[in-house]
Amino acid sequence: MTVAASTGSARTRRRRGRSSLLDPQILLPAVPQSFGKLDPRWMVRNPVMFVVEIGAVITSWAFISGFWSGGNHGQESFVGQVCLWLWFTVLFANFAEAVAEGRGRAQAASLRRTRSDTVARRLVGGLSGREERVPAPALRRGDIVVCEAGDTIPSDGTIVEGIASVDESAITGESAPVIREAGGDRSAVTGGTRVLSDRIVVEITQNPGETFLDRIIGLVESSARKKTPNEIALNILLASLTIIFIVAVVSLKPFAAYANASGFVTIPVLVALLVCLIPTTIGGLLSAIGIAGIDRLLQKNVLAMSGRAVEAAGDVDVLLLDKTGTITFGNRQASEFIPAPGVEMQHLVRAADLASVADETPEGRSIVALARRYGVPEDPEIASWTFVPFSANTRMSGVDREGAAIRKGAGEAIAMWCSDNASRELPDAVRDQVEAIARGGGTPLVVAQDRSVLGVIHLKDIVKPGMRERFADLRRMGLRTVMITGDNPLTARAIAEEAGVDDFLAEATPENKLELIRREQTGGRLVAMTGDGTNDAPALAQADVGVAMQSGTQAAKEAGNMVDLDSDPTKLIEIVETGKQMLITRGALTTFSVANDVAKYFAIIPALFSTGAVGALRALNILQLQSPESAVLSAVIFNALIIVALIPLALRGVKYRAVGAAALLRRNLMIYALGGVIIPFPGIKIVDLIITHLHLVS
């Protein structure tokens, strides 16, 4: 029982690289990058914006050639402005992408600072070999290195010898040290973290460039992201919409000629109409949304190995949640004192209280709280006792005073302490209690004073407050929760009912966990789970979304497709929400973008056909825009500015509400479809008023 091994003290979370949306450090470098991205080889990846760029080039050509030949018919200023705003449209979209990437890059930079030029102490010739100093990048998989207090661990590896407390704040932002020891599920160490105490021998498991830190940096920096399946599908839809509009706009030229209405139907105006119609709002923000999705997870200290994983998270149907630490407090809480035969209850409670007053772990605090409930006041003599903190070796904590000592700890550890390495046996009655508590899913903590056993504290699982509501939310989102626990079915059922999960898997083993995942997947469901142990690795790999805990083993981290740097299994819920948010943001902006077209038509079509044989179409100018030039330009400007206006929404994501699919759709349709139809009307009108007031156009 590693009661206090968990770093459960008051958590001071220092999240890496958290930057506001308007951080000038990100915005400023994004400006030149927006120009760099004009490279057609880059633009072609985004068909919608590529069409805008081609349109901008055509318009520029029309402007320049018209300038020499006088072919702009006194409309130089108008054509020039249209041209300028078309370029702005492309640049704004590039800017959005650059800002999204910039946020990731800022985070990578802060990670890089933590990767100092570490010198490794490599052992040559096995564990007992001689030591040599090499730079960390020279380490290869299989090398053995030594790290002592104060050393930075040079690369990812597994402890093969020793135990140490490690400061992992460079990776996790978590300031409290964690215990890492050889063997078991806590043997993995990460390059860039620092040993605080003791000495460990580490076998390196990654070659340079493959380490965890390298992967994080690569991931947040990589601009050649692979598109996610839904992104590809949406891109196809947007591309075909673009083609439809190209056909509609290009065919308008002969239609206008047939109607003797070619006067204003010039190339720049047609390009302007096309750019207004094709879904530039979503096209311009699509890649920013994807990057921002990964980035938002990273801000939650979750490292997604791919955008695909984030997207899959939004689709998850079943969440497998470990009971301990997720549904219940990982650190169990005192619920009962059970004195040993012949020991006064008051004596036991007082001793337990004394041993725990200075113990800042949740268990310790819960013992003190329970003691108060048992009517034992704080001992006035507390000041004369010295606190003996938990150590990984003794597996006990307690207090000492001249000639007196109180300890609490796991049964075995106390037995060892009491019997002075003689018999290692607890008194029978106490041992029975200990076993009974363990059987019931609780944790027994034995208390002893001056090497004689006083009794047992029953620590048991307490369901975290708010879990019930959380699971109800999940149910509304359409997710089923399954609690995974090693407990027997009876205990498991009790906790499952208390927590309000939909189902549970008791007496879980790696095998039946894997089997459960396969069963759910055969039924067509997507499964997400968290895990940290090596024996979780197969299940993590099998799950559609496998979130490995940073505290877990290397194998677990490699099997999953996300790593939670906080090692907080409740994150799964936030991960699912982020995945959904990403899809919703895309859907909302697509709808908004297409809905905008209605108003743009009402601005541009009457402008195109306001004179001559087709002048009757002036009646469609319901916005009463000042002039054809102003109408076209207003629509183009509105179209460009809306991209900028929506960058924050694209980066932050549309808020997800767990209200069920139909209600969510109704809400989003009201905002983004209806809003998308309405907003451009006043928007274009306002731009029209401004540009005519400024005499930019007649």
């Binding site: 509609a248 065919s251 997710l479 995945g579």
Partner: protein, 582 residues
């Protein structure tokens, strides 16, 4: 007028009742269950398989299914082409009509093979009885059966899980022809004959009218063709006047009967779909989207036609409905139908891909004519042609589901089938074909002299005629803004191309989509699944259809009917109708 609206409501109600029966009947037929017709027809069906060597049990994948469909279509197209070319030498030609010229014969053969029934000819003066029966009516059965079979393949794709095959095209065609089309058409033909329609092989009858004028009254096997013309949403009439001709559509009652025939299978297939996928509400959802748009189109057209011509409103002439006149715009309408029944028929025939007419679309008010044109341009899915309407609607449903899925934060699924990039690609490709096939040839036609020679009227109305023609042929509708002279080498070829694209090219991505869907596992429905049988989905589906259609065609429609209507309000009537006779 109240009576007219009541009659419209009763006609729709009768169409639903017929569709309810037809939907369930088709379900049984395609699932191989016995129907009341089996004792008589099952031996016939078996006989057909024995003679043709069709293996009833063998199923085809999507490629096999499309391949068989294309093979049958191309062969039957050639057959019709030959019959039309050689009709002068063939029997059943009492009028001694000569062979049909090559371009027209080709256009007509494509037209009837593709269920379009665009007619660049006048039936009574161009086609022999053999051509009408074997060349054309034959296709009215076969092309309808083909459309329904394709729809059934798509239904199977949605309903089956982790499968590879979509059924057997030959078996599906035989069954629907034998158990659905022939019996219903036969029963309908009998009613038509009883109501005053004709069915004979006599030569035309010369008569002297009361005014003492000699007139030739055409005869022929009309009722048989008329029944399948409506039932199979073909639309190609025996006579040039189509359903305005008293031998095709003798009374107000037959007018309603024909509307019921037009709507029963397109509506009915939505019922079949719902039952087949195990949730009738899924069928109702598609049906609701079809009906809402159709009825809105009817309401709008009826309102425009009943309101009449704004240019006339400013004169002394009354267009108001009263005891002595139907009122509204009566130009080009039969007195026995009036504006509202005409609009009802016209929107039913354009909302489906029938294209039959009982009034002249060309003479509708501009906006009254816009409604049928837009119904065609929306993709012929409200409710669309037999079969083609349903599979077109399913394509749009998949796009709507994709948007809905994104907006609720889940990879979209339709009836448990996850909609992935591949599916979106096929759906988008299918939707893309329609505007390309409409707008590109229209644009070419207004540019080149051969195209400009087509329209009867100048200006916006002439433009509408060209736009309508390519919309109609692409949508496999076949109705015309009659002003266009389509019987030229240019239009015969280009319109045939549009028909081919709209039918046979469109269906390839649709069937590829079916091939992809049929392989998918079915995801169980949960609270996070967006329900596709809710009014909300119907609204979204309608929105998707309208937005895609309206955004695509708004500029073109603005220069056509919308401009024309605005000009009428401005009193430009004289300038724009120089050659309009009446």
């Amino acid at each position: 007028m109240t009576l007219d609206i009541l009659a419209a409501a009763v006609t729709y109600a009768a169409a639903f009742a017929a569709a309810w029966w037809a939907g369930h009947h088709m379900l049984r037929v395609f699932q191989g269950e016995r129907t009341f017709l089996h004792p008589v027809l099952r031996p016939v069906e078996r006989g057909i398989y024995r003679i043709t060597g069709i293996d009833e049990e063998h199923e085809q994948g999507w490629k096999g299914y499309v391949g068989a469909m294309l093979l049958v279509s191309v062969l039957s197209l050639l057959l019709t082409y030959l019959i039309l070319r050689l009709q002068g030498a063939l029997p059943l030609n009492p009028e001694n009509l000569p062979g049909v010229p090559p371009a027209l014969a080709f256009n007509t053969a494509v037209s009837f093979t593709s269920n379009t029934n665009w007619q660049n000819y006048a039936g009574e003066t161009t086609m022999s009885y053999l051509s009408q029966m074997l060349g054309l009516t034959f296709h009215q059965f076969l092309s309808a059966a083909t459309g329904i079979a394709l729809a059934v393949a798509v239904i199977r794709a949605v309903a089956r899980r982790s499968a590879t095959t979509l059924g057997n095209f030959y078996v599906d065609v035989v069954r629907v022809t034998l158990y659905v089309l022939i019996p219903v058409a036969a029963a309908a033909a009998v009613i038509l004959i009883a109501s005053g329609g004709i069915q004979n092989l006599s030569a035309a009858t010369p008569v002297t009218t009361l005014e003492g004028v000699r007139q030739i009254i055409s005869q022929g096997p009309v009722a048989a063709m008329e029944a399948i013309k409506e039932l199979g949403t073909n639309g190609g009439g025996f006579f040039n006047a189509n359903s305005a001709h008293p031998f095709e559509n003798p009374t107000g009652l037959t007018n309603s009967l024909e509307i019921v025939l037009i709507l029963m299978i397109p509506f009915g297939l939505a019922i079949t779909f719902g039952r087949w996928v195990g949730n009738i509400k899924q069928g109702f959802a598609l049906l609701a989207a079809m009906v809402v748009i159709l009825v809105a189109g009817f309401g709008f057209a009826a309102w425009q036609e009943q309101t009449g011509n704004p240019a006339i409103s400013s004169t002394e002439v009354s267009q108001v409905a009263s005891a002595t006149q139907a009122g509204g715009n009566m130009e080009g309408k039969e007195a026995r139908f009036g504006p509202i029944q005409s609009a009802l028929f016209n929107t039913a025939a354009t909302g489906t891909s029938t294209g039959a007419v009982d009034s002249a679309s060309d003479s509708y008010t501009p906006l009254g004519g816009l409604a049928p044109m837009l119904l065609i341009q929306l993709g012929e899915i409200t409710p669309g042609g037999v079969g083609s309407g349903l599979y077109g609607m399913i394509v749009f449903a998949i796009v709507a589901v994709f948007l809905a899925g994104l907006m609720v934060g889940r990879t979209p699924e339709y009836l448990g089938k996850k909609i992935e990039a591949r599916d979106v690609k096929f759906a988008a490709l299918a939707i893309l074909i329609l505007p390309v096939s409409i707008l590109v040839p229209t644009a070419i036609s207004v540019l080149v002299p051969a195209g400009q020679a087509g329209p009867l009227n100048p200006g916006a109305h002439g433009f509408s005629e060209i736009l309508y023609a390519f919309s109609s042929t692409t949508g496999n509708n076949g109705s015309a803004f009659a002003g266009l002279s389509g019987n030229s080498l240019y239009y015969n070829s280009l319109l045939a191309l549009s028909m081919w694209l709209g039918r046979f090219i469109f269906v390839i991505p649709v069937m590829a989509l079916a091939g992809s869907l049929v392989r998918k596992k079915v995801v169980p429905i949960g609270p996070g699944t967006f329900p596709t049988d809710s009014p909300l989905f119907v609204a979204l589906l309608i929105g998707t259809i309208i937005i895609v259609g309206a955004l695509t065609f708004f500029p073109a429609l603005a220069l056509g009917p919308i401009l024309e209507q605005l000009q009428l309000h401005g009193g430009h009537l004289a300038a724009f109708y120089p050659s309009q006779g009446g």
